[in-house]
């Protein structure tokens, strides 16, 4: 079993073995009987880290060319296309879209009760409003 980093990286950055093992099992779920040896799983993890590095590097270059300091999702999808993984793109766009929706919902919830800059009057008003709407919801519920 190799515990050494053959990639020569300074950080011991890798992926959690248990997580990777679980994913392998999910991938091979329909293939009963086939299992990955421990050495192969570890080798696979190295491959995964290499893949991440490959994509990041390419995406970073693309962002640079656009004079962008932050690597965005679009840079990643372009990188995938250029590196020969165009078939991954639709799924990724889907995931990115879901994430955006989640983000918007998260932010909305945060801003809804952003009381940081409110003065006492506003706070009192907000409180009254919250009580009112809560009472309303309560009285509108069917009796159980």
């Amino acid at each position: 079993m190799s515990d050494r980093e053959f990639g020569g990286s300074n950080d011991d950055l890798s992926l959690p073995k248990a997580t990777v093992q679980k994913i392998i099992s999910e991938i091979l779920a329909n293939d009963s009987g086939i299992a990955f040896a421990r050495e192969s799983r570890d080798l696979l993890i190295e491959c995964c880290v290499e893949f991440i590095t490959l994509i990041s590097s390419e995406a970073n270059e693309i962002a640079d060319k656009e004079a962008k300091k932050t690597i965005a999702c679009e840079h990643v999808t372009t990188a995938l296309e250029q590196l020969g993984y165009p078939d991954y793109i639709p799924e990724i766009l889907k995931v990115a879209q879901e994430h955006k929706v989640q983000q918007a919902t998260r932010e909305k919830k945060q801003n809804k009760f952003n009381t940081a800059n409110m003065d006492e009057d506003e706070l009192t008003r907000l409180q009254a409003e919250l009580f009112r709407s809560a009472t309303e919801k309560f009285s509108n519920q069917p009796a159980e």
Binding site: V20, E26, A35, E39, E50, V76
Partner: protein, 144 residues
């Protein structure tokens, strides 16, 4: 008129569904281990995580195929190597797998020229000990 189609993402045709997710924070750290990589949008590691999932599905299923084509239920590092060598998409992994010994048989083009290491790769301690099966190097070799 048929739609232009880049093909399905890995795993779709086989109905493979992966539920477990990679740790997004870890992926971000691996990305930023590269000094050139600066800031990364929040959604970006999520996108890379998805790409990694698809990559894993592709590599794992191909490695499993290599194992099956050699009548093995255990996917070894050698099978993983064969999968890498047999697909252009995985060219960037050639260095990583070069340290592994080739698997005999199958239909692959075992590139023996890459083995510059003197050690016979990971000494397969389990080789032969697993289930007492003797089948091994004695496999009929197909490549010509």
């Amino acid at each position: 008129m048929p739609l232009a189609n880049v093909g399905n993402a890995p795993g779709v045709a086989e109905g493979i569904e992966v539920k477990t997710k990679f740790p997004v924070a870890r992926i971000k750290r691996i990305m930023q281990a590269d000094e050139d990589v600066g800031k990364v949008a929040q959604v970006t590691p999520v996108a890379v995580s998805k790409a990694l999932e698809l990559f894993m599905i592709s590599l794992v299923t191909k490695a499993a195929s290599e194992a099956k084509s050699r009548s093995s239920k255990r996917v070894t590092a050698a099978h993983l190597k064969a999968a890498v060598l047999n697909d252009e998409q995985f060219d960037f992994l050639n260095d990583i797998v070069s340290k592994v010994a080739d698997a005999p048989g199958g239909g692959g083009n075992a590139a023996k020229t890459d083995n510059d290491s003197d050690e016979p790769a990971e000494p397969k301690k389990k080789r032969g000990a697993t289930r007492g099966r003797k089948k091994k190097v004695a496999d009929p070799i197909d490549d010509e």
